[in-house]
Symmetry: D2
Amino acid sequence: MFTIGVIGCGYWGPNLIRNFFNLQNADVKTCADLSEKRLDHMKQLYPSLQTTTDFRELTGDTGIDAVVIATPVSSHFPIAKEALEAGKHVFVEKPLASSPEEGTQLVKLAGEMNRVLMVGHTFIYTAAVNKIKDVIDSGELGEIYYVSTTRVNLGIFQEDINVVWDLAPHDISIMNFILDAQPISVSAVGHDYIRSGIQDVAFLTLSYPESVLANIHVSWLDPNKIRRTTVVGSKKMLVYDDVSSLEKIRIYDKGVTVTPHYDTFGEFQLSYRYGDISIPKLDDAEPLKIECKHFVECVENGASCRSSGAHGLDVLLTLGTSDRSMKQGGAQLTIEYPEL
Amino acid sequence: MFTIGVIGCGYWGPNLIRNFFNLQNADVKTCADLSEKRLDHMKQLYPSLQTTTDFRELTGDTGIDAVVIATPVSSHFPIAKEALEAGKHVFVEKPLASSPEEGTQLVKLAGEMNRVLMVGHTFIYTAAVNKIKDVIDSGELGEIYYVSTTRVNLGIFQEDINVVWDLAPHDISIMNFILDAQPISVSAVGHDYIRSGIQDVAFLTLSYPESVLANIHVSWLDPNKIRRTTVVGSKKMLVYDDVSSLEKIRIYDKGVTVTPHYDTFGEFQLSYRYGDISIPKLDDAEPLKIECKHFVECVENGASCRSSGAHGLDVLLTLGTSDRSMKQGGAQLTIEYPEL
Amino acid sequence: MFTIGVIGCGYWGPNLIRNFFNLQNADVKTCADLSEKRLDHMKQLYPSLQTTTDFRELTGDTGIDAVVIATPVSSHFPIAKEALEAGKHVFVEKPLASSPEEGTQLVKLAGEMNRVLMVGHTFIYTAAVNKIKDVIDSGELGEIYYVSTTRVNLGIFQEDINVVWDLAPHDISIMNFILDAQPISVSAVGHDYIRSGIQDVAFLTLSYPESVLANIHVSWLDPNKIRRTTVVGSKKMLVYDDVSSLEKIRIYDKGVTVTPHYDTFGEFQLSYRYGDISIPKLDDAEPLKIECKHFVECVENGASCRSSGAHGLDVLLTLGTSDRSMKQGGAQLTIEYPEL
Amino acid sequence: MFTIGVIGCGYWGPNLIRNFFNLQNADVKTCADLSEKRLDHMKQLYPSLQTTTDFRELTGDTGIDAVVIATPVSSHFPIAKEALEAGKHVFVEKPLASSPEEGTQLVKLAGEMNRVLMVGHTFIYTAAVNKIKDVIDSGELGEIYYVSTTRVNLGIFQEDINVVWDLAPHDISIMNFILDAQPISVSAVGHDYIRSGIQDVAFLTLSYPESVLANIHVSWLDPNKIRRTTVVGSKKMLVYDDVSSLEKIRIYDKGVTVTPHYDTFGEFQLSYRYGDISIPKLDDAEPLKIECKHFVECVENGASCRSSGAHGLDVLLTLGTSDRSMKQGGAQLTIEYPEL
């Protein structure tokens, strides 16, 4: 039996506890939180669970194989570091850490300790995002031109991170996954309307290899939740609307094909192909369940981790570079990937 | 009777001819086009119309008060210049000219000749855009934070202009009109996927006074036509969907208000106000008819021109600066407005 | 050249004139209307057109091969009768006549005179309705279970006919066409809220052969235009939304299949198949153009007429029986089809 | 403390147990089910709960004040009867019983025993349905003309009841509640496509006082879930779409007003008022919670019960009359309300 300790029982932790509890080959032994009230609530839901306000009781417990971290972002690094140093496998909520430097340290440390370090980029475990990847990989969309995403809502305002760090990790993680690539450069423009110094609206433009552009719009200020990703290819276009319950993915079979012929007046015509729209049926499985199961498999069978520390670090590096670009008024900055 | 000559009877010219014909106090005397076939077609539709392949027969006709120009963009400048110099009032399709320099010359010339120079920015004559302006001016949205627009479709590819020059003039004209302001700076990123050297996708970020941001996404590559403008304010949000026939404007009565209180742990809460959505009924009048009528009024009554040469020049300057920004990889460039 | 006279230049007549004018092998010689003003307007649009206030100038003109009738419903019968008796082919707007008896007379008369009698059931010339018929005929939907239609809007209230006669002819014509069948019986319930004695809302239930049910909801009182037809089959369901411009037809690949197995407790399980949704691209051709062309072909080549007098009479018989059912409080009445 | 026993822990029972558990002034003492497995599951979720396979341990327990019945429809009557006779207050899931006769007996018995009998018509505890009632009562819609509902999906096929008994109770309960009236008569047409003798599609037409018509379409065969209720009034129309998460209610401010003037030719014009659409914000409270709380209040404070036995009986009588109408091919039958 694979034994887990969970640190942080606030907003997201209980979901992780529930999912790990429901796995047949895993057990949650202990959970930690600074709030006694949250611990009491966990105890009520899972009477067998041990609780503590000191996370070191988990990292120091030799009966615990892996630590799951669902605390505020600023504490990801110190806790994950201590857990890895104690020889634990680590599952940490996104983003991996507060800075690229911290993230780099964690990835290196996990390598040195030969432990699994996984980041909770849940979207890449959804049926929708995996369908998108399959469609792209199959060549159905043709050559990918650009990706455009909108992730806006009335925000759960964060005191320690801006809207880019809050929402864009989803988009960057999804894009890196479906394009199977890392962005080369980023330019970002944002503004802080509500709380001085913390951007609540931002527009990012990423350049990927092979001339693929990506545009990300994130906001905490829009009173209409939108979660939309558009992938435009040379043959078809795919639109992923995560707010829709039944029609998350639409594939538009239309495209533009350049005609080879130009007449003597230098005019040219582009032939248009308009076609059907299809809305594929997706599976209903809970992505968090798949993610938790995947973590156990990575530890037990050494499976390659889909949202590995390295994947999480790529996201962090893009976030860090975006912050610098925003400070420089939207300058296009190359993302520097460290040797690992 | 106000007498008009129309130059260019291709894609858009016939619409202008029809609308001016239907005005009671205006008459279309002559139309010019390089194609005899188009002229024959116009003659068939309007037997009273005189036709010519030489536009100078219009600019040189003392019986013509005003010239309407609906030719390819590159010829706007020379024809408009000649018409103004001949003492004609000029209505020219958007964009005003091929470059800010040309546009500046035309605006100055119109001033010197004391003639009306109007640009065919039709959107600011629509019921929807005027409703938006009214809503903003009334303060219903609160302080404006940012505007975001998407104008994408499978393109009518142009051989001489890129997607920014083709589609973004609508957005810039609308934004300048509803915000009653000129953008201070612009950064733009684009790419040429289909025809080398001509951007078919672009993302622009504009900074307006009072910290209002604007983001424009234009594309010729998306096989699903979108015409969406979102205006986010401190109190409400307005979404303008020009593709919808019956529900073009939606106003979301939701907002975020910062609560003054922070508890001892430094946490803070933002109170959310969620409210009703309203979809106002809009008038059905054809905007082109209103625009044509407005042109006649400007000439006859000296009315202040809503889409004046100066308005069209502001758009041109933004387009020109966007082109330079795209060449510099998305640099944020200040827009230089000339003395007029 | 096939020569046509058009009687009635009000709401729909000008559309018919325009379409027949645009056919290469047909000519509109004369049009008739009681209003001189309408005739002047037609003359202005088509200078070659002869006009008259006396429709007998058309039926009596040996230079006219066919008469197109777009007058109020109550005059369809006398005019069509006179035209057929004069040896003209006749195209009459829907519904064919004011009563089944009149309709029967016209169909018989056309047979005796060996002339084409066609009714303007335009919908069965649309790309959408023909796509539905193709999909049904291909077996893609499986066995057809039932059809349900909603055709509601704020009405153009008619003084001489009720909402069933105004709107339901479309639905009955479409259903008879796509099912390739005649309804066996009908029950109808309606009410007259606005004008006493003229139903403005009604619900009809039709029984077709092979246990196919059809339900029709028509109303002049709904301030939101709906044009929706749902065809439910054993394998798939098709929804036709005529208000949608780009997504008129959706095919839901889901169905219910009875499992053969029942366990010992008498319970049974139905296996569900949920699948993709597809939105086929439809052609954009104007149905009225296709309809007018079809009329000429029927006359010239003896093509079998898709919306023949007999088809129009089936619709009339259903309307007449519906009226009787409404008077009897919704009694299910068998539709009596006359020997022709 | 108000003590409750719950009989039936299958599909719906656990929801009731959870909600009653969460009420501060109520306690669930015992639950009964024929399946030991279900009882074990309940015990695991609520360790304090007593369990039994014999419902008479609840009806015979003097420590239990009220019995909640969530068993198959056919057992509602015998269990509820026994519980009432034992002096318990009774909350029974909809429909109240298997026949109007059974329902009448229960309502009379509850009256004689002076006990609360409440039926689980949950919809009339939703924010949406209460908003509709408020809007109607306020006169905002004007005089109500008709109500039309569609409640279709791929069915959870029932072996003992048809689609009318499964789905239409919701619509009838909602209509009776929002119109504050009982239907006078009903005509129904249905068909059994999948399982012989059990209708899986049906269309009902109800007549309410003051000439209000209602049409109900229910089906287990449509692979696209629809839950739509349209209320058309003389001034406005309200559409309630229960499938939509954020825009459940839309009010269309459009209407038809008869103009008093008729010109000499007997023509008449109807003036149209088109106006805004509004989408009111609704509360998010769980209706089942409100319903359970209401049951406790009815018992403890003698509050008038919104979904009383009499309300449930009205629904039953309409269902029973519909069944008879379907057997008679859609005959319009008067609903006979018993003296209570």
